[in-house]
């Protein structure tokens, strides 16, 4: 991963956190890693524990950002989520997988799209 794209990722996640705070979520953890996967943001939305995948898109990217969370990526997020629940001994809590996409146009303005309940365990 080049430095440029890593910076883009970090700044995207910062923007995402800000957006989530604005809509009333409580950020619990960022960049949680397990052996097989990573979760960008873990937040609390009321009673829900939300696992959020942040996707950055510049104007150079092709295609729709929604299609970018593919099966293997899903599996790694799910695995990381299971690890997180197990490590922190969280039971009896409803969880959700959300996807947040940030799209930047030519002038650098960010457009955020937030998809709740983006996918399931199976």
């Amino acid at each position: 991963m080049g430095k440029e794209s890593k910076d883009l990722g970090t700044s995207g996640e910062d923007a995402a956190c800000q957006h989530l705070k604005n809509i009333g979520y409580k950020i619990i953890e960022r960049n949680f890693r397990s052996q097989q996967g990573e979760i960008d943001i873990i937040a609390k939305d009321g009673e829900f524990l939300v696992f959020i995948e942040v996707k950055n898109y510049s104007f150079r990217s092709y295609g729709s950002p929604l299609g970018a969370v593919r099966k293997s990526k899903k599996q790694s997020i799910i695995h990381a989520a299971q690890t997180y629940l197990y490590k922190n001994n969280i039971k009896n809590t409803n969880c959700r997988f959300d996807v947040l996409t940030i799209y930047r146009n030519h002038s650098g303005d960010a457009h955020i799209e937030y998809i709740k309940d983006a996918f399931y365990v199976n």
């Binding site: 799910i78 009896n92 969880c95 959700r96 399931y120």
Partner: protein
Amino acid sequence: MLIKLKSSALSGLEGYLVEVEVDSVKGLPGQSIVGLPDAAVRESRDRVKFAIVNSGFEFPPGYFTINLAPGDVRKEGPMYDLSIAVGMLSSSGQIKADRLNDYIFLGELALNGEVRGIAGVLPICFSAKQVGIKKVVVSVKNADEAALVQGMDIIPVKDLKETSDFLNGIKNIPPHVIDIKSLFNRVNEYEFDFNDVKGQQHAKRALEIAAAGSHNIIMVGPPGSGKTMLAKRLPSILPPLSLDEALEVTKLYSVTGLLNGKSALITSRPFRSPHHTTSNIGIIGGGRMPRPGEVSLAHHGILFLDEFPEFEREVLEVLRQPLEDAKVTVSRALASITYPAEFMLVAAMNPCPCGNYMDPVKPCICHSYKLQRYLGKLSRPLLDRIDLHIEVPRLKKEELSSQPDGEPSKEIKRRVCAARTIQEERFKGKNTHSNSRMTPKQVREFCKLENEAENILKAAILHLNMSGRSYDRILKVSRTIADLDSSETIEAKHIAEAIQYRTLDVKGGEYHV
């Protein structure tokens, strides 16, 4: 919260209850369906999700397990969608659970929440009634069909929202009722009438006998002589179905999913005419979970096989058993299912591949081996089971240019019905419905011959080299001819007419005029 609802599955023409159990735990979101679901059942997950969301409900969070009990029987088809959706909404408190247990839920869901019709509602409702269930929730599209079962509350629903309003007591849906009598007494209009057919008096007479006794018949004639035309007019002279027969036929069509869009009750006798490339499975029925084939779809009606020798040999031979037993048992690894197949076989064929064999005008150009192969398709055991063999010769020039002046179907039908009434009296309280289905014992009882008739039959056996089965068939046909004549006993003229309908018996199936 654990929710239990009832739905139903089909095994042949029998429905059996399936208990749908829905429960959820808090945790990572997801669903799994257990209880041997097939692909269509497993896909219901996605349909249910969108149906729930698009109906304005909240999709319940948590991990759902949906169990379809009994767990050792394979569940097929999309009919569990409605019960699964209601179960999930009920489990999350969006639908009241107190009345769920009274109902059976049957329906497929569209993504917009609409409840779609499913196949097999009629047999399912019949079976449900037998196990004491009184109320059924079905799609409006299946409502008429389900209401054919009397003494049940049929609740027709348009979509998932309406179902929930009904169960929550917000909306009252009165049980759907139809007037079976008026549905059944509808007069069937036939597209074709016998008075369109020019000449062919001999063939018409034979078809009348066939219709009167439900006898199998084969017509042999050159192309264009009117075999297909005659066969297509046969339904117009058949006696009407009784209500029980109509329900039986409707059940078969319901299971096959052929009822859609048509009337809820089939009131005219089926006329099936499969193409000669049809496989033996297509004729008999089959599949992983065996479905009815053409012989069953022709139950209480006509199976018309045009270009008879063009069918695969094995296709023709599989007809033998259902012709004899009036039912077929199809066994597969998953299930062994018996479907009724009491049909009347009407076959049509050319005398040779080119069609002109024995024609007085046009010469036949077939090689003898080709001819042999063509006629070899007609095995002796098969011909034995066909009661009437008739020739449909080419029309003469003067007949061709004449106006059609035959008897209208209505007249012929009147005589056929009279003959059937005599048969109904005769077989009252027995399993037999028509002369052609008499058991050997009944043949001895009801087909007593006069002396003269006996002598004619004896002479015919000597000369025509008949098998025991074709002997019985002759007696049955002569019984029908006597019935058409309103004659108590079988006279010489009746037996003589019956014998002349066995032309293909001569010389072991080799065609001979």
